[in-house]
């Protein structure tokens, strides 16, 4: 595999030529950035992957049961397994989505579960992403380029092919389709993941649509052809956030949405992938309760652990957090993408005091975690190799059954010692190899 290092520049050049980029907004300006690729893959052995697979299926299954429950009977609240404030005050909880039965009763068709491996080699779940997790296209296309650059590497290593993601995704879209075509809906080229939207449309054979190509009539979603003809849509894989998808229900001034989409979905005439309202299940506050949810819904012990987390909402946890602020990482539950994450050790005494006050004043807004000292991975750097902290976003697909993609997006920190791997914060990525033996 070290032969791949020689091709680092070439592969990065090809990635840029293929348009593998993401966009970020900074000071209200849109910038496109390349996503730096490191050619040394993360390698998961067959056994290691089998363990992760089992744990991920259990977790994703549970989160879907939770979403079905929370937008329906809310039995978990009645049984007191989690305090109802965490649901009702979550920004991701959308009452307009109540009492909808999604096709096949699936909410989280595509889950991106962020994991890290500690120095002790144990895996921890850091975050669940159940809204519109992005990133699967990067390892797919990188694998493709690597195979071309160094074909023999893949002959001598038993690496499971990961280029089937398009097929797996298509199967999910078809599994929940209620009659009609599959559509991938993008907000447009100024979206940070536009490259991925178009690439996935190509890989799945789904129709690639902009908001103005779709309309609802008589509670049915249609795609309008250039010719003026209409085609009924059975599944829409929308890459537009909940608050923008339907201006008749959510933000009224959204130009990115499709008016009455939620009505068509409620009527059972179209599958919306992922379901609107999933934000309540990947909320940082709800995360704390996922292990308990697994016990509650499945009667099983969680296979994958959360990073050790404290909820200042509970008095004993709050006391602990305030006492140990300097060694914890504190997260604002309403922020995403690496924003609102503060390492106590980086703060001055004054800043720490301010944070402590904010926690005392509004404990519900924060969670605190022990800093998992995660295992560093080897990266190629200037003709030599060094190590960086890295995480793993595993993709779990949920249609008629649950499948864990035999790959994943490994993101690494650009700076030595840094824990911040988010692409919006300058991180790079690696391919993830799952060995077939």
């Amino acid at each position: 595999m070290y032969r791949l290092i020689d091709h680092k520049e070439e592969i990065n050049r090809l990635l840029s030529r293929y348009g593998v980029k993401f966009g970020i907004y900074k000071n209200n300006e849109f910038h496109e950035r390349l996503f730096p690729f490191d050619p040394i893959p993360r390698i998961l052995t067959k056994n290691e992957f089998a363990f992760l697979e089992k744990g991920l299926r259990q977790r994703v299954h549970t989160l879907n049961l939770f979403l079905n429950d929370i937008y329906g009977k809310k039995q978990i609240l009645k049984d007191g397994v989690l305090p109802e404030d965490f649901v009702y005050l979550s920004k991701g909880f959308l009452p307009p989505c109540e009492n909808i039965a999604p096709p096949e009763r699936v909410y989280n068709h595509i889950s991106g579960i962020d994991l890290v491996q500690g120095k002790d080699m144990a895996w921890y779940v850091l975050e669940d992403n159940l809204r519109i997790p992005s990133g699967a296209s990067y390892p797919m296309i990188a694998r493709d380029l690597c195979r071309r650059a160094a074909p023999d590497t893949f002959e001598t290593n038993a690496v499971t092919d990961n280029r089937d993601y398009g097929k797996l995704l298509k199967r999910v879209l078809d599994d929940v389709n209620v009659g009609g075509i599959d559509v991938i809906l993008t907000p447009g080229r100024y979206n940070s993941a536009f490259f991925e939207h178009s690439y996935l449309a190509e890989q799945t054979g789904a129709v690639f649509a902009m908001p103005q190509d779709l309309f609802v009539e008589g509670n049915v979603l249609y795609y309008s052809e250039y010719s003026g003809e209409r085609r009924r849509v059975g599944t829409v894989y929308r890459r537009i956030s909940d608050e923008y998808i339907d201006p008749m229900t959510f933000l009224p001034d959204s130009l990115l949405g499709v008016p009455h989409l939620l009505d068509a979905y409620r009527a059972g005439n179209v599958a919306v992938v992922n379901a609107p309202g999933n934000g309540v299940a990947d909320d940082k506050g709800i995360y704390y309760f996922v292990p308990e949810m697994i016990r509650y819904y499945l009667g099983e012990e969680p296979i994958l652990q959360n990073a050790p987390t404290y909820l200042p909402y509970y008095e004993t946890d709050r006391a602990y957090v305030l006492e140990h602020l300097e060694r914890l990482v504190v997260k604002d539950v309403s922020e995403a993408g690496g924003y609102g994450v503060v390492f106590g050790s980086d703060l001055t005494k004054d800043e720490r005091q301010k944070l402590a006050e904010a926690i005392r004043e509004n404990p519900r807004r924060f969670i605190a975690q022990e800093v998992v000292d995660f295992r560093e991975l080897t990266v190629a750097e200037g003709g030599s190799v060094t190590t960086r902290k890295a995480d793993l976003r595993a993709f779990v697909l949920y249609g008629k059954e649950i499948t864990v993609w035999k790959s994943g997006l490994t993101r690494y920190a650009r700076e030595a010692g840094s824990y911040v791997v988010n692409s919006s914060q300058g991180g790079g990525f690696k391919d993830t190899w799952v060995l077939s033996r």
Binding site: Y88, L89, P95, E217, N219, M248, T249, A267
Partner: protein, 259 residues
């Protein structure tokens, strides 16, 4: 039991033609055990594929998307209802009505007003609490149209000190929720006013009880209920989107007449 005739008519005149006009109308009255709709006539013009559907709060909605250019949009609903508040059945509480919503989050003014009533409200039933809070609200707030807008929040309205039925409802909802009384916003029509109205329902021991802070009274069988939600944003009677037009002029007439 009270038998009433009701009507709702709404017209929008556009100064230039509009197209791709999407709308959601929550102007069909609830049809349930205590508000029986005996006759219903609906005319929406123009229309394309007029569809009756429901939303997440249990409201009935009329939706459509008009593609043809038009400069006039009109809605007329008329019918007969039998209202019998004693026929209401107990229902479980949905927790969404216990927590602050977009228009009803408490700022310092609402919090202070609620806290000032906390002692007086202790050990009282939810309905009695709501009545006390209505008194506190009315001591601080007066009716005046044209001061607030549909986006005005409860806190902003309280700061202004005057507003319309929507503001009265939002403030009372905020106060009730602050003191642990679940409350929701109701849009409907009151007898003898000629326009649409907004009031509050509070949850008391399994039942939703109507209270009208604008008119300082409990809701009786001279009120027709059209929609409900956490606040105005969930259940506005008319929500629409269109392309084109320049200016628009909307007129609404609504009535409930005792038979």
């Amino acid at each position: 039991m009270q038998r009433v005739e009701f009507s709702y008519s709404m017209k929008i005149e556009f100064s230039a033609p509009v197209v791709r006009h999407c709308f959601s109308l929550r102007c069909l009255p609830f049809n349930n055990e205590w508000q029986r709709i005996r006759e219903l006539f609906i005319d929406v013009s123009p229309h394309n594929v007029l569809t009756e559907t429901a939303d997440g709060f249990g409201n009935r909605i009329l939706t459509d998307r008009i593609t043809e250019p038009h400069t006039l949009f009109s809605v007329y609903v008329n019918g007969i209802a039998e209202i019998d508040l004693t026929a209401a059945e107990a229902e479980p509480l949905n927790g969404i009505y216990k927590y602050p919503s977009q228009h009803t989050a408490c700022g310092p003014l609402l919090t202070a007003l609620a806290e000032a009533q906390r002692a007086a409200c202790a050990n009282r039933s939810p309905t009695e609490k709501a009545k006390l809070l209505m008194e506190a609200l009315r001591a601080r707030f007066s009716y005046q149209s044209g001061v607030t807008r549909v986006e005005t929040t409860a806190e902003q309205a309280l700061e202004l000190g005057c507003g319309v039925c929507q503001d009265y409802a939002h403030i009372l909802i905020a106060l009730c929720r602050a003191l642990g009384v679940p409350a929701r916003y109701v849009a409907g029509i009151q007898e003898g006013t000629g326009e649409t109205h907004a009031w509050v329902e509070i949850y008391d021991n399994g039942y939703w009880v109507g209270i009208d802070p604008t008119n300082h009274k409990m809701v009786d069988e001279h009120y027709l209920k059209l929609s409900h939600g956490r606040d105005f944003a969930d259940c506005g009677i008319n929500r629409g989107l269109f392309i084109g037009g320049c200016t628009q002029k909307q007129t609404v007439e609504a009535s409930v007449r005792v038979l």
